[in-house]
Assembly symmetry: C2
Homo-oligomer: 105 residues x 2
């Protein structure tokens, strides 16, 4: 799980509307229709966003009667943060090494 490639996750997180959806879901699980009452976009637009969020594992859905209720998966955010942090460290290390070599000349 959470084995999704990193880049699509970032792409999903690179949209303001998607963040407001995530924020709204942070208040509690909700369906696309419910969300459309709180956000200034159509239910269908929200549904599309939810599907991309779900594809990258940032969101989860459960059928409750005739409605599809979505919920944020906070763990995926944490996982992404961890991976990004490792990459940042890696870069710092490499750049420090390069700097040392450069200064040794």
């Amino acid at each position: 799980m959470t084995s999704s490639t990193l880049v699509p996750v970032f792409a999903a997180l690179g949209d303001e509307t998607r963040w407001s959806i995530l924020a709204a879901l942070g208040e509690g699980d909700a369906s696309a229709s419910a969300l459309s009452g709180r956000l200034p976009v159509t239910r269908q637009a929200i549904a599309k966003h939810l599907s991309v969020l779900q594809e990258v594992g940032l969101v989860d859905s459960v059928r409750v009667g005739r409605e599809l209720r979505y919920r944020v998966i906070g763990a995926q955010l944490s996982e992404t943060a961890r991976r990004l942090d490792r990459i940042g460290d890696e870069w710092e290390r490499r750049l420090a090494a390069i700097k040392r070599v450069a200064e040794a000349l």
Copy 2:
């Protein structure tokens, strides 16, 4: 510093080509022209990517003679990771609280 809003940073990180540019820069600082020799895209395309990377503070540039040399700022990645991690924690906490409330019913 590194006070850039989060979303544009994610948008910048949500592109494969940009990651390959970052990866190439990880091998050492380089100019757009130099990078175009190693990547399957035009110098101009790379220049555009570098400008968006620079706008969100992921990359830095120094003029060296007649060339503009770019360098990765690993710290910005780490900072982004930290902020994302905090958000993830926040969500986990809130969701846990909601779950407790729901189970108490």
